[in-house]
């Protein structure tokens, strides 16, 4: 049969294009629009070129917020990934313990972000919170409202509590897919506990771990609600992450131009990170 060549197929993707246009492209373009203009109110805009971008990229405020974000992501990955692996390794593989563990693990994941924030806000209070009160009793002068270290500690513990389960569940899924024969062969070969982990369990978890790192990185890089509820970005600016800063700038100070430039930079960073992870993962798959 003769093939017909024309451009009719484009009509079929048109609905999707329209949808994407309304949901993503148009809002994004308004942001782009703001980022290159200046306004003094009255809906009067002036061309500003790359001024806001330059200002943002060279501003101390942006650098420190970005630094805090990266540091936060780094710390929680450092805790959540190993902790998740250890918990997954110790979960039962059969029997009644399995559903119990799974439900317990899934619980924190089901709680909405702002509720998690509220829970920890109360939990950490010295007067009525269990954590705050206990620490106080232990002689530690715990105060997340005034002490930046304590604020960080609280925000990190909160994230670990909220999200380690995700890593656990992903790792567990990898672990239960290992047939018994592998463990039997390892026993026959005289493998140590460490060798079993290194050569049987870790290779099976590799892929899910990569996904876990990606998800946790993205999510922690965009963290907003929980620290906002608990610390409101303080004390001072010590827990002001990019997203919190962005909202302050756009909604609080109504600096639309710089805020728009900042969101675009923020967006590009996340895009870049996604691309890096995607490349790493596809390379890893190709190698298999």
């Amino acid at each position: 049969m003769e093939k017909t060549w024309n451009n009719k197929a484009w009509f079929m993707v048109l609905p999707v294009l329209l949808l994407v246009a309304f949901s993503a492209v148009i809002p994004l373009m308004t942001v782009v629009n703001y980022s290159v203009q200046d306004t003094f109110g009255n809906n009067q805009f002036f061309w500003a070129g790359t001024e806001w971008f330059t200002e943002m990229l060279t501003s101390e405020r942006f650098h420190s917020a970005l630094g805090r974000n990266l540091f936060f992501s780094f710390i929680i990955l450092l805790i959540e990934i190993p902790l998740g692996i250890v918990i997954a390794l110790n979960m039962p593989r059969k029997g009644w313990g399995v559903p119990v563990c799974l439900v317990l693990m899934a619980l924190p994941l089901l709680i909405p972000w702002n509720v998690v924030g509220t829970i920890w806000q109360v939990f950490g209070r010295v007067d009525i919170g269990l954590l705050g009160h206990t620490l106080e009793r232990l002689g530690i002068n715990y105060n997340y409202v005034q002490n930046p270290m304590h604020a960080w500690f609280t925000v990190i513990i909160m994230d670990v509590w909220h999200w380690t389960s995700l890593v656990v569940l992903l790792c567990y899924a990898g672990l239960v897919s290992i047939p018994d024969a592998f463990y039997q062969a390892a026993k026959i070969d005289g493998a140590s506990r460490w060798a079993v982990f290194r050569y049987i369990q870790l290779p099976k978890m590799n892929r899910v771990l990569l996904i876990a790192v990606l998800l946790r990185f993205m999510d922690s890089f965009m963290i907003y609600t929980e620290p906002f509820v608990v610390t409101g970005g303080g004390p001072g600016n010590s827990t002001t992450f990019l997203s919190i800063d962005l909202v302050k700038m756009a909604v609080g100070q109504f600096d639309l131009g710089p805020a728009a430039a900042m969101s675009l930079i923020y967006f590009l960073i996340i895009l870049l990170m996604s691309w890096v992870f995607y490349t790493v993962m596809t390379n890893y798959d190709a190698e298999r």
Binding site: Q184, A185, I188, G190, Y199, I200, P203, R288
Partner: protein, 355 residues
């Protein structure tokens, strides 16, 4: 290398076994001689893997005792027992090279690297993967992977025993033949105690000095291939070994004769079994002659399989297979006679008499 005694071993997977039915291994009481090459033969689900796992220590038996060279090892770990075991389906360490896979069991035991190198290279030659030694094991085909599994068992020459659990299932027929003869050679060279599980009778009969037949959680017979063929202790052995299997038919015993329907068959030696529910006569198709005298039969089918013909006959209500040489004729009015040499009598499936 060791002599292995299984002392009244029983095993149930469930927690509270009550009747015999709950046991995957009903009772095994048997010795594997030091340096013996055994084939463990039996249908799927009869407990072969369970038995091997008990010997290697992967499973702790519910009852009974296991001795290596007279020493009780029932409570020792797999590692302390120092046994090599090759499983039915390949297990390889994905992220390691072929070489490292073979070196792994030796490294875990702290063998010197120079000695490891010699052993590994020798084993790689044997399983024909020498040119693959530096490759990652993950990309290999199923039979190459199985050869690596096999190699990890063979690389350790100081083991108490090597257990093979249907190791050649996924390997192509030619390679199967090659590997089997290599295993045989290895056995002669190193004198391992070897147990080779299979459900393929030709594999069992060519490989082993002694064949152990299991059925339904029990060992029903141990013997040389000839013994299993000539005097099956249990009707199951009769069916399972030989192609086609033994003819087994219900009979009534009276004095020195057995009655099949209206026919009398003179027994080589008189048998008087204690009160049994079921008396049967077993005779292999090889020991039945077809001719013009004897018991009249109808012929249902003749299968020509080259070297000989299998004649499916009916004697009254009983199906009887007969093997006839390629050149022999089948008369128009066929009768069969039983060669007394091949007659076995079974009471409740266990052999009580015959030649």
């Amino acid at each position: 290398m060791a002599r292995i005694d299984l002392n009244h071993i029983r095993h149930a997977y469930g927690p509270n076994p009550k009747s015999d039915k709950d046991y995957a291994l009903r009772e095994v009481h048997h010795s594997w001689e030091d340096g013996g090459a055994y084939a463990l033969l039996g249908p799927s689900g009869c407990g072969k893997t369970t038995l091997l796992n008990i010997i290697s220590g992967l499973i702790h038996p519910s009852h009974g005792q296991l001795l290596f060279n007279g020493q009780d090892v029932t409570n020792l770990s797999t590692q302390e027992r120092n046994i090599a075991q090759v499983f039915q389906f390949p297990v390889i360490y994905d992220t390691m090279t072929v070489y490292d896979n073979l070196a792994f069991p030796l490294r875990n035991r702290g063998v010197a690297e120079s000695e490891i190198d010699v052993k590994v290279r020798e084993t790689l030659e044997m399983i024909d993967l020498a040119s693959w030694s530096g490759k990652k094991a993950r990309g290999l085909t199923a039979d190459q992977k199985q050869k690596i599994s096999l190699g990890r068992g063979l690389v350790r020459s100081d083991v108490n025993a090597i257990l093979f659990d249907e190791p050649l299932t996924v390997i192509d027929p030619h390679m199967k033949w090659v590997l089997r003869s290599q295993l045989k050679q290895l056995h002669q060279r190193f004198g391992y105690t070897m147990v080779y599980v299979t459900h393929d009778q030709t594999e069992a009969l060519t490989f082993a000095q002694k064949v152990v037949v299991m059925y339904d959680g029990e060992i029903v017979q141990i013997g040389t291939p000839e013994e299993l063929f000539e005097r099956p202790k249990h009707t199951f052995v009769g069916y399972f070994i030989g192609s086609p299997g033994m003819n087994v038919m219900p009979v009534k015993l009276a004095g020195g004769t057995a009655q099949i329907g209206g026919h009398q068959i003179q027994l080589p030696t008189p048998v008087t079994p204690a009160d049994a529910k079921k008396i049967e006569l077993g005779i292999r198709p090889e020991y039945i002659r077809i001719g013009r005298s004897g018991m009249p039969v109808k012929i249902a089918k003749v299968e020509d399989i080259g070297r000989h013909k299998i004649v499916r006959t009916r004697l009254e209500n009983q199906d009887i297979a007969v093997i006839v040489g390629e050149g022999e004729d089948i008369p128009a009015d066929p009768h069969i006679t039983f060669d007394p040499k091949g007659i076995n009598i079974y009471a409740d499936s266990w052999r009580v008499g015959g030649n």
